[in-house]
């Protein structure tokens, strides 16, 4: 699926989006302004203060590597995503809520209206039914935990008799610290231990009360959310060590902090740039970091939103769950291999190999790879003349197409917005987008778009969008190669910003060469990590990240270190209060 504008475009079809003639008129010939981040493209201007590289204070930087011109953004409490909830329970109790509990634990839906779930998690609220689901999950998890007491070290040999039992209090501290990712204060321990002595059927049942205490730790908003309080440092507000432990862990592992992170926080190491870097580097060696990278690109490039039912089976008879699964596996293996090999991110666009099962290779028309090198049945496969890098994989092409066809407009907007971080303009409020009558003449998609551009009010924008999608027209709506469309020979040629495209290979080369594509990845990474839609205040941070990314020969690992050590990730505005949505300013 695609985001707002793209949905509008998809909804409107090929012929419907007309915008005013002024589209981009102020930006013509100034491509670097797209996305408002020209400073980041070459890094020459803002990299001079040296804050990006060394981790030490550079000239022009304040303490702890915070640039003098740093403008913080508000911090925001995140709600665990469904995946983070599941991962956290797995790590704390060794239980998989889906697989082990035997009953589904449905949680309030993740907010997906923004590009990254981390952004939605930063502002979503929980409905009454969602609150009930968290409660039911807590009951189910605690019930399972106590049904198998040998599985929990803190529970072995601990039979509660009163709220004062040392083992009960120890258990609350142990479980609470893991669940809430911070130490409990004395009042909290008292309040939870008191459940052991809580009224029950006219008396008390300490062991049963103990179970409810553990369930309550899981139900608590201290677990369900990542509260952000921070601590004042000069005129800035810094995430506390324990808040930073969670921030690092959910960003780099998508799960709760491990003991080493919590210990590092307790030792006061996570309030310095160096301490954060040490932990980030340790964490990036773990395979969970590769999983997160797959998720990151999956969200950034829409791949994680595609579902089997989103394609019309009549339009694509070959489309099924198995094909979609193989697309997803390919996408994940390419990125995992890329990350683990510290490869140059530019190769994401122009790589000459992919990973494929024999069936998928055949679907692509490629020679199957060496079975001896297979992972999950997928082997490295040489791409031929028709495919170039991740952009031409089935996953990316299918995810960025309507249900029953390819759409150069949808793909053009995808390339412009998601790969170059440019901005396709919204349809103005007065647009008349009623579908024009089809005159019944068979036409190629290209012909339809050309007719569309005869309308000057449509042309100015579509001239910018369409070539980026038309160049991919050899791939149909699920990414399969075709020589013609409805009997019309495919003509993928076009021109974008003076670069002539003859084939998808040219677009791949264009993206690999264009610093904006790399800066765009850096920008997405900062947005993903901070859980924010970025603003103008982030321009210096983006520039800094772009410089580091460039200097590292575009290694994703180095980018993620730079993101997590950046002041924008570690500091917030002194007053976390922000305007509440819908409140009158």
């Amino acid at each position: 699926m695609v985001g707002g504008v793209s949905k509008t475009l998809a909804a409107a079809g090929l012929l419907t989006l007309c915008v005013g003639p002024g589209c981009y008129s102020g930006l013509d010939g100034d491509a670097s302004s797209i996305g408002g981040e020209s400073a980041g493209a070459d890094g020459a201007d803002d990299g001079a203060d040296g804050g990006a590289d060394g981790g030490d204070d550079g000239a022009g930087d304040g303490p702890d590597g915070v640039p003098d011109d740093f403008e913080p953004s508000p911090g925001s409490m995140r709600r665990l995503t469904a995946a983070q909830y599941r991962n956290s329970i797995r790590d704390v109790f060794g239980l998989d809520i889906e697989e082990d509990l035997g009953v589904p634990v449905d949680l309030d839906l993740d907010e997906e209206s923004a590009m990254f779930r981390s952004i939605g998690a930063s502002y979503v609220g929980t409905s009454p039914s969602g609150v009930e689901k968290y409660r039911d999950a807590a009951f189910a998890i605690a019930t399972a935990v106590f049904a198998d007491p040998d599985s929990q070290p803190w529970l072995v040999g601990c039979v509660a008799t009163s709220a004062d039992d040392a083992c009960v209090r120890d258990a609350i501290v142990t479980v609470g610290t893991r669940l809430w990712r911070r130490p409990l204060d004395a009042d909290e321990v008292d309040r939870y231990a008191a459940l052991v002595d809580a009224p029950f059927e006219g008396g008390v049942d300490p062991q049963l009360g103990f179970r409810y205490a553990i369930a309550a730790l899981i139900e608590s908003p201290n677990f369900v959310y990542l509260p952000i309080v921070g601590e004042d440092v000069g005129n800035l507000r810094r995430y506390t060590g324990f808040e930073m432990a969670s921030r690092l862990s959910y960003t780099l592992w998508n799960t709760t902090p491990d003991d080493a992170l919590l210990e590092s926080a307790a030792a006061g190491e996570l309030v310095s740039r160096e301490g954060v870097e040490d932990q980030a580097r340790r964490m990036l060696e773990d395979e969970r970091a590769a999983d997160v990278l797959v998720r990151f690109f999956g969200e950034a490039w829409n791949v994680d939103r595609i579902a089997v039912e989103l394609k019309n089976p009549e339009a694509f008879p070959g489309w099924d769950q198995a094909l979609l699964d193989s697309f997803q596996t390919e996408f994940a293996l390419v990125l995992r291999d890329h990350f683990e090999g510290d490869a140059d991110a530019r190769s994401l666009f122009d790589a000459s190999t992919t990973w494929a099962s024999p069936e998928l290779a055949q679907w692509y028309g490629l020679t199957p790879g060496d079975p001896a090198a297979a992972q999950d049945g997928f082997s490295p496969v040489e791409l031929g003349e028709q495919r170039h890098g991740l952009l031409t994989t089935g996953a990316v092409l299918a995810a960025n197409s309507p249900s029953d066809r390819s759409s150069p407009v949808v793909r053009g907007v995808f390339v412009l917005e998601r790969l170059l971080c440019g901005e396709a303009p919204p349809p103005p409020p007065d647009v008349d987008d009623v579908l024009p009558e089809d005159d019944g003449e068979p036409k190629s998609t290209r012909q339809k778009l050309e007719e569309h551009r005869e309308n000057p009010s449509c042309a100015s924008c579509h001239a910018l969008i369409d070539p980026l999608g038309l160049v991919l027209e050899h791939y149909d709506g699920i990414g399969q190669w075709r020589e013609d469309e409805n009997g019309f020979e495919i003509d993928p040629s076009g021109e974008y910003e003076g670069t002539t495209f003859e084939a998808a290979e040219d677009l791949a080369a264009f993206l690999a060469d264009d610093p904006r594509a790399m800066t765009c990845i850096a920008r997405h990474a900062l947005s993903y990590a901070t859980g924010r839609v970025l603003g103008t205040q982030d321009a210096p941070a983006i520039a800094e990240l772009a410089t580091t990314f460039t200097d590292s020969d575009y290694q994703m690992r180095e980018l993620m270190v730079a993101v997590t050590t950046n002041a924008a990730f570690r500091y917030m505005t002194p007053d976390p209060a922000t305007r509440i949505k819908g409140e009158q300013p």
């Binding site: 949905k7 509008t8 909804a11 409107a12 508000p74 925001s76 409490m77 697989e99 082990d100 509990l101 009953v103 589904p104 839906l109 907010e111 923004a114 502002y123 979503v124 609220g125 929980t126 409905s127 009454p128 039914s129 609150v131 039911d136 189910a140 605690a142 019930t143 106590f146 049904a147 939870y192 809580a198 009224p199 059927e201 049963l208 179970r211 409810y212 205490a213 309550a216 608590s220 908003p221 201290n222 369900v224 959310y225 509260p227 039912e309 019309n312 249900s403 919204p426 349809p427 409020p429 009623v434 579908l435 839609v533 007053d575 976390p576 305007r579 509440i580 949505k581 819908g582 009158q584």
Partner: protein, 469 residues
């Protein structure tokens, strides 16, 4: 009974859910509706409670994605006794419960499905780019609560559930997006599995204890103490975080308070029904058995309304920009794309009629529930609407708005009201305001004050008096 399509592992642990346990305690079986025993609480005349209060009024939103076909929707005559158009034929035998509003429009600002949803259900839509969390212009949020939540906020605390949300067709990018709270960042979750709706409604009410209480959540005493601890956590957190997060925690606390209400104050004289799960029902993905699922959900919802478990519901037949396949009427292309290509054809008429048949089933289920001298539908008003009028053209002109029920006599049921100047008004929100007032909510205005982006104020303050009895 495993009602999930996905196989589960670890059968050994299957009995560990409170809900599953409680459901097991009630036994299984075919649909067996509870008796609406409100009658025992009624006064002699059957039109008011024994305490002298009026019978409760219920309000529901019945929402579908994809709009209508005007030629098969708008009756040729106004007033009463209109000839029932093709799309509305499922309501033929309850025309005297239907109030049809046609010829009214919404104030447009942006043609897409998401703004349309906000405008149709809350008379608000905010493309403001400066709001934290919403970000770029593509963030399309609705600052005012949806109409069902407006009503629920007014009656909350009087029933165990402030509202009940049900979703049938789950395909498309925006499921569970048709009911939201003020601010537009908390969306109610539409329950999409009949047994889970059953569990939601009844698992806190029955409280049949597990013999040794090893299934947590079956002790009312301890559940209450646990809730106190968790609520205290939420309140303490509120004192530490910023204003926006404080409001989010308040939203969370509202959910906890509803649970508290159910645990402490609520007793029902209603009989808990059996689990409504026919053996041949498998499909929770809603493509194959959407009608059967809708009937199960409607039966449960009718019990919930009759038993006064809630007075408000949101029924999301299909989501905004729905991609449901209506194979039942011979359309095999998904709804949204099909709609764009054939917005006014016979296929769309058949789809719309099929959707209305499912709406009519719910209305009839409420009508079958006796209450006082009449039935529950007499004391209910359901507003049916969609995000667009002609969704294939993304427009709001002559917007569909169909009210079903009599709102305790406050609405002129049976009327076809057509605006005297169709196409040249922005009165559709006035119809929604009329419906909200008809169920006894004294709302002064409805919708957004100060429309963004140069759009005129959306807010309306007048009812459509012709609709009011």
């Amino acid at each position: 009974m495993n009602h999930r399509a996905k196989p589960r592992h670890s059968v050994q642990r299957q009995s560990l859910s409170r809900r599953t346990f409680l459901r097991g305690a009630y036994g299984t079986g075919a649909v067996c509706l509870g008796l609406p025993l409100l009658d025992i609480m009624l006064g002699d005349h059957g039109d008011a409670l024994a305490q002298g209060e009026a019978l409760p009024k219920r309000f529901g939103i019945w929402y579908w994605g994809g709009g209508i076909v005007h030629s098969a929707w708008v009756p040729t005559t106004t007033g009463y006794g209109w000839e029932v158009p093709y799309c509305l034929q499922p309501f033929t035998d309850m025309q005297d419960y239907v109030t049809l509003v046609t010829g009214t429009n919404h104030r447009n600002s942006s043609p897409g499905h998401i703004p349309a949803r906000g405008i149709a259900l809350s008379n608000s839509h905010d493309p403001d780019t400066s709001i934290e969390g919403v970000g770029t212009w593509r963030g399309q949020k609705h600052p005012e609560p949806s109409a069902d939540v407006l009503v629920a906020d007014h009656v909350s605390g009087q029933t165990p559930f402030s509202s009940v949300e049900v979703g049938i067709c789950r395909t498309g990018p925006y499921k569970s997006n048709s009911s939201w709270h003020a601010g537009g960042t908390t969306f109610n979750n539409h329950e999409e599995v009949p047994t889970e709706l059953y569990d939601r409604l009844f698992s806190d009410l029955g409280q049949i204890p597990d013999p040794d209480y090893s299934v947590l959540g079956t002790s009312r005493d301890l559940s209450k103490s646990m809730l106190d601890v968790v609520m205290e956590d939420a309140k303490k957190l509120q004192g530490k975080v910023g204003a926006r997060d404080k409001a989010r925690l308040e939203q969370h606390l509202e959910g906890l308070r509803e649970i508290e209400l159910r645990l402490e104050d609520f007793t029902t004289s209603c009989e808990v029904p059996g689990v409504p799960m026919p053996a041949n029902y498998q499909d929770n993905s809603s493509e194959e058995q959407k009608q059967q699922k809708s009937e199960l959900m409607s039966d449960l919802l009718a019990v919930a309304m009759a038993c006064d478990l809630s007075r408000v519901f949101s029924y999301e037949w299909s989501a905004t920009q729905s991609t449901t396949h209506y194979w039942e009427v011979g359309v095999f292309q998904e709804h949204h794309e099909y709609n764009h290509q054939n917005p006014q054809g016979q296929g769309m008429m058949d789809i719309t009629q099929f959707i209305m048949a499912n709406f009519a089933y719910l209305a009839d289920a409420l009508r079958q529930m006796p209450e006082g001298a009449g039935n529950v539908l007499d004391n209910t008003l359901i507003v049916g609407t969609s995000e667009h009028a002609v969704s294939g053209a993304h427009n709001y002109t002559d917007h569909p708005l169909i009210m079903v029920g009599r709102a305790g006599g406050a609405i002129n049921a049976g009327l076809h009201y057509r605006h005297p100047d169709p196409g040249n008004n922005f009165d559709c929100p006035k119809a929604m305001l009329t419906a909200i007032r008809a169920v006894g909510v004294p709302l002064e205005s409805y919708g957004q004050v100060g429309g963004p982006g140069g759009v005129a104020d959306r807010v309306v303050t007048d009812s459509i008096s012709e609709l009011e009895a």
